[in-house]
């Protein structure tokens, strides 16, 4: 009887110790911790590709393949996005009908600020992307908004990205539960499988960067937005971040969301935050 009680007490004690040891981990795993997430995200890629310089991840597939990188470097002498840059600068500096310009809507006159977008607007309680901010600027000045997936928006963001080239991505997450929720929502979107192909963003850009999908080499997720907007040879034109998300969804046979849907804004927030410290390289060029 004594032995039985001792065994029972011992088991109970062991169970309590096990519970005490495991329960804080469960709590920690469920807690939103963007700093830890960004560190783990970057380390994953740094360890997976130890020979790639950290700042080179922003060059997407070119950081994964030496031949492609050489071709790209030659192409950069006469980059295909040059026309968009010129058009973007022209649009950016041309006054609206009311005499104001985009510079009036942004800090520092809109120059060299790309690395701070998207940001979390504590008044609105939502993520604001650069594309969204540009259209809001247009509407506030009596102009019609641009399509989020067409050339005008790509040209404008190309010019603004160009003025930030080399600056490290610097996304802030304010001490606001809504900002943490937006980050978490973006993370969830990034890892969630969707479409008939049952692919998540991570299926290609975490599990398979450097691998081929048909004729293309997949880019790593780390720094993938630092190069936006991009000229894609496949599109024979420029593409915005919105266009990239919409196209990725379609390719997995998922019905894309509307451009600048909350989910897209949040995933842009997540991906940009985990790339903090890596340089802006946009506008980019991709096959």
């Amino acid at each position: 009887m004594k032995a039985r009680s001792a065994l029972l007490l011992g088991s109970l004690g062991a169970a309590l110790v096990a519970f005490a040891l495991t329960s804080p981990r469960v709590v920690a795993a469920d807690k939103v911790d963007p700093v830890a997430d960004a560190k783990a995200f970057q380390n994953f890629f740094f360890q997976k590709f130890p020979n790639v310089k950290h700042e080179d991840f922003v060059n997407g597939p070119y950081s994964m393949n030496a031949d492609m990188k050489r071709q790209w470097q030659e192409k950069e002498e006469f980059p295909p996005y040059e026309f968009a840059l010129d058009a973007g600068k022209d649009m950016f500096t041309t006054p609206f009908k009311n005499g104001k310009t985009y510079a009036d809507c942004f800090p520092n006159g809109g120059i060299g600020i790309r690395q701070n977008y998207p940001y979390f607007d504590t008044k609105e309680g939502k993520v604001v992307t650069l594309e969204l901010a540009l259209n809001r600027c247009r509407e506030a000045n009596g102009e019609a908004p641009y399509s989020y997936v067409k050339d005008e928006m790509a040209s404008l963001t190309a010019y603004m990205a160009f003025t930030s080239r080399g600056k490290p991505m610097d996304i802030k997450i304010p001490d606001d539960p809504r900002a943490l929720a937006a980050f978490e929502n973006g993370k969830r979107y990034f890892y969630t499988r969707r479409g008939q192909m049952n692919f998540s963003c991570a299926s290609c850009h975490v599990q398979s960067p450097g691998e081929r999908i048909r004729a293309e080499i997949l880019a790593p997720a780390l720094g993938i937005l630092n190069a936006m907007p991009i000229y894609r040879s496949e599109w024979s034109g420029m593409g915005t971040t919105s266009r990239r998300f919409v196209t990725c969804n379609s390719q997995t046979r998922a019905v894309p969301l509307e451009p600048q849907a909350d989910e897209y804004r949040d995933v842009e927030y997540f991906l940009s935050y985990v790339a903090n410290g890596l340089p802006i390289s946009g506008p980019g060029a991709r096959p």
Partner: protein, 105 residues
């Protein structure tokens, strides 16, 4: 004996063809029922933000065939759309937790 066997072999398929009930062609009511079920599942998937492009295409094909009076084709396409929509609903439901398995920690 031999002739009776040959006769039986000849008659059997004829009887089978003549007497067995042929598969009934779908009518408009079948199409409407199949389409309504597919449409409901599709709307549920869309509400979950997990709609598939192939579901939309299959639903459109069902409607086109139904509008053209080809109810066999319309029912088949509607059933395909319903199956696809249900698969996407399953995906949406399972991914509520399953995404965490992919997360970099």
């Amino acid at each position: 004996m031999k002739w009776s066997f040959v006769l039986a072999m000849l008659l059997a398929p004829m009887l089978a063809l003549g007497l067995a009930p042929a598969a009934r062609a779908a009518n408009e009511a079948d199409y409407k029922a199949a389409y309504a079920a597919a449409d409901a599942a599709s709307k549920e998937a869309a509400g979950l933000r997990h709609q598939w492009t192939v579901t939309v295409s299959a639903l459109a094909a069902a409607k086109k065939a139904g509008d053209g009076g080809d109810f066999d084709r319309a029912v088949a396409a509607a059933r395909e759309a319903e199956a696809l929509a249900k698969a996407s609903i399953f995906q949406a439901t399972s991914e509520k937790e399953a995404w965490k398995a992919m997360e970099i920690r």
